[in-house]
Every structure is written in structure tokens, then in C-alpha cells.
């Protein structure tokens, strides 16, 4: 398979993640869509690494995975904190930083 197939698939997955962030309102699903976008970036990194024939892009992909894990942990901590304060889990209602 040509590398361009992987790149097109990666941009399609990225656009799907953007679509999910735009139409969904639950913060949890928005975090899942962020994961989709990070994974699309990962696929592009690995595909370009194969294209160049160099393993350095795969190291980038591994570090992107670490960043994604950090983002998930902090985001889920925020969701649990919002739930504990009995605030609505809806990004349209959560528009003020001051509660």
C-alpha cells in the first residue's frame, strides 16, 4: 500500500474527531474525540516514519501516547471533580470558570 493511503485515512480520522468535538456536549465524549485526533496524528507520524525509513517518527508516536495518557488522566480528574460538586456534565452549561 502506498503511504498516501495512510495519510488520507489519518486526515479522515482527524476530521472525524473534530466533528465529534463540534457536535457532542458531554465532556467525556469530547475527551474520547481528542483521543481520536491524537491517534490520527500518531498514524501520520508512523506512516511518515515508514516513508523516510527512519525509526525516529515512531519515537515521536510513543511520546504522543504519553501526552495522551497525561491528558486523559487530568481530564478524567476534572470530570470527577465536576461530578462531585454536582455541576451539570454538559459543556454548554459549564461556561464559567468561577463557580
Amino acid at each position: 500500500m502506498n503511504i498516501s493511503w495512510y495519510i488520507v485515512l489519518s486526515s479522515l480520522l482527524f476530521a472525524t474527531g473534530v466533528l465529534g468535538i463540534l457536535i457532542r456536549r458531554s465532556p467525556m465524549v469530547i475527551l474520547l474525540c481528542l483521543e481520536l485526533m491524537l491517534n490520527a496524528g500518531n498514524l501520520a507520524l508512523v506512516a511518515f516514519s515508514r516513508m523516510v525509513g527512519n525509526g525516529q517518527g515512531q519515537v515521536f508516536a510513543v511520546i504522543v501516547m504519553v501526552i495522551a495518557a497525561c491528558e486523559v488522566v487530568v481530564g478524567l480528574g476534572l470530570i470527577v471533580a465536576i461530578f462531585r460538586r454536582k455541576l451539570p456534565l454538559n459543556v454548554d452549561d459549564l461556561r464559567e470558570l468561577r463557580g
Binding site: 503511504i3 516514519s49 516513508m51 497525561c70 487530568v74
Partner: protein
């Protein structure tokens, strides 16, 4: 053979992605994301990056998704309101996503990268296996490796600070954390 595996994995990845954004229940969204992650791992294997594929399955589909499942079970899947703050948002958003996809495709495929239309060069034996990635991480990318470990530690501490139960939320009487469970049983008992 390679094309068959590619298309099956690509359909799995796309179907998982659409499942994430289409499911009403967040629990099903998480399950769809697991399907997506496994399909991506198959794609990584096709690109001869065995270590990234293994890390994808073990770290993402194993650890991170378990975290999601626990939080979804704790918070519960609340139904989303049908109210739209921006009129026509459900029609504008797919339009913008399609525009972004065409833009990205034109930007990448219209570039002068000749190697995009090839399979990539022949790789040496052991390309992308754990030994190669480990050598790169510990020799060439030592500083980003250490920085990411510090970042993981910070994220763990931050999550504990964010999600920890605060004292003023538990009740009026200030108490130690070790007795909070007892207070929850009999909150009205004064100095029991």
C-alpha cells in the same frame, strides 16, 4: 494480502471513530474507541512498527480505556440535551469537518513529496522493534524521554489533587480523612 488487511483495518478504525461520535451512551463510545484502537494497532503492524502497535494495545486499549470505563461507571452516562446554542450547529459541524478533510488531503497530497506514492524504502531487519526504539529513546532522545516521565508524574499528582475528596465537601465537622467513612454513616452524631 496487504491491501486486504489495510482495508479491513481502515474500515474498523473509521467505524470505531464514527461509533465514538454517534453513540448516545458514553459507555458504548468507549467500546467503539477500543475497536478503533485495535484497528490502528493492525495498521501500525502493517507499517512495520511492532513496538508502537504493542504499546497501543497494552497502554491504550488496556490501561487508559479501563480508566475511562471506571469513570463512565462512576459518573453515569447522562443523556445529552437536544438544545443547540448555535442554530444549525448539527449541519454546520459536518460541513466544517468535510472542509477540514479536503484541506488536509490537498495539503498533503498536493505537496511535492514524491515518496508518498511508494511503499517506503526497504527497511533493515528489526526496523521498529523494541530494541531499535529503546536504543533511539535512550541514546538520541534521552531528554524528551526524561521530560515525558516527569510529565507523567505531574499528571498523576494533578489528577489526585483534582479528584481527591475535599474536607469541606464531606460535612460541617472538620475531621481527618481516615474517619470520613464513619461520618458518612452517621453524619448527625455529634462527637460520637
Amino acid at each position: 494480502m496487504e491491501a486486504v488487511v489495510f482495508f479491513v483495518a481502515a474500515i474498523g478504525a473509521l467505524g470505531g471513530a464514527f461509533g465514538v461520535i454517534a453513540m448516545r451512551n458514553p459507555f458504548y463510545s468507549v467500546l467503539a474507541l477500543i475497536v478503533h484502537l485495535f484497528s490502528l494497532a493492525a495498521l501500525f503492524l502493517l507499517l512495520t512498527s511492532a513496538f508502537v502497535a504493542a504499546a497501543q494495545v497494552v497502554v491504550y486499549a488496556g490501561a487508559v480505556m479501563v480508566l475511562y470505563v471506571f469513570v463512565v461507571a462512576y459518573v453515569g452516562g447522562g443523556g445529552e440535551s437536544a438544545w443547540e446554542p448555535i442554530p444549525g450547529q448539527r449541519f454546520l459541524a459536518p460541513l466544517l469537518a468535510i472542509a477540514l478533510f479536503t484541506e488536509l488531503s490537498i495539503a498533503v497530497l498536493g505537496s511535492a513529496l514524491k515518496a508518498l506514492e511508494t511503499h517506503g524504502p526497504d527497511t533493515p531487519n528489526g526496523f521498529g522493534d523494541p530494541a531499535a526504539i529503546g536504543r533511539l529513546l535512550l541514546e538520541k532522545f534521552l531528554l524528551p524521554f526524561e521530560a515525558s516521565s516527569i510529565l507523567l508524574l505531574l499528571a498523576a499528582v494533578g489528577a489526585i489533587v483534582l479528584a481527591a475528596r475535599r474536607r469541606e465537601e464531606e460535612g460541617d465537622t472538620p475531621s481527618k480523612h481516615s474517619t470520613s467513612r464513619l461520618e458518612g454513616v452517621s453524619p448527625s452524631a455529634p462527637n460520637a
